[in-house]
């Protein structure tokens, strides 16, 4: 699968799980947008545990999957955006709701208005085809994605 196909796949999912470290590991799900260079964008409230964690360390891990298609895993750095960049990223994230018509992001149900918008720049990404009934264990099941 080439980079464009990976972008197409992750864009069709639009929800990912993330993990950050805030004294202990914490995970969460977020609605996200992705650009053609596989930079990922998400927003949260500034008082959430993940935002507090990212203020201490920008390292973040993520997984994006669809049970009968693919699993994408990666690690990167989450950079806080501001100004027009943050506004543009929010628009991209809003457009991503198109792919998840039945999903109402939990962030929209949490009181408050102090958003923080992040751009995840991956350090590495890999993809695993899980469309087959059986995944044969071999030396390299995952395919590294060239960034």
């Amino acid at each position: 699968m080439d980079k464009a196909e990976v972008v197409k796949f992750v864009r069709s999912v639009s929800i990912m799980s993330i993990a950050v470290n805030y004294k202990t590991p914490i995970s969460s799900i977020v609605l996200f947008a992705v650009d053609d260079n596989l930079n990922f964008f998400f927003a949260t409230r500034r008082d959430t545990a993940k935002a507090k964690a990212l203020s201490l360390s920008s390292e973040i891990s993520m997984s994006i999957w669809e049970f009968d298609k693919s699993l994408v895993q990666g690690t990167g750095r989450a950079l806080e955006l501001s100004g027009q960049e943050a506004s543009d990223a929010l628009d991209m994230i809003v457009n991503a709701t198109e792919n998840v018509k039945e999903f109402w992001p939990p962030i929209l149900q949490i009181e408050g208005d102090d958003y923080v918008v992040y751009k995840i720049v991956p350090v590495w990404l890999r993809i695993l085809d899980i469309s087959k009934d059986t995944i044969h264990v071999k030396e390299q099941m995952f395919q590294e994605i060239e960034l």
């Binding site: 809003v94 198109e98 109402w104 962030i107 929209l108 009181e111």
Partner: protein
């Protein structure tokens, strides 16, 4: 002809999501984030429905609602309230003021709100 909705909401993310989703299902959405400008905008645009958050900066949502309900040019416009206020007193007051429907943000999805809007406009 497309129906017009006046979205009164100050949450920057929620405004964008509601606007996009309501436009996707066929409505024209006007946004008002400044409560002081609302009455003028309502008279100017004459929307078919008002979607109102009661917690707005520097303003009392109930006072806004009172103004809408007591103005001869706006009192017939259905008002759907989507807000974080959730006490039984709040809800009683809203019913007394004659709102068409009421949703608590933390307990409601877009589809529930959209269904209520569509049932009034379509």
């Amino acid at each position: 002809m497309k129906k017009k909705i006046m979205l009164v909401e100050d949450d920057q993310f929620l405004v964008r999501v509601y606007k996009k989703k309501l436009e996707d299902i066929g409505y024209i959405v006007h946004v008002c984030q400044d409560p002081l400008l609302l009455m003028d905008k309502l008279v100017e645009i004459s929307p078919d429905l008002i979607m109102l958050d009661l917690i707005l900066p520097g303003s009392d949502g109930f006072k806004i609602l009172n103004e809408i309900m007591n103005n001869v040019q706006t009192r017939e416009i259905p008002v759907v309230v989507v807000s974080d206020l959730s006490t039984s007193e709040d809800i009683s007051t809203l019913k007394e003021l004659g709102v068409s429907d009421y949703f608590i943000k933390s307990e409601s999805s877009f589809n529930e709100v959209a269904f209520s809007i569509q049932s009034r406009l379509d």
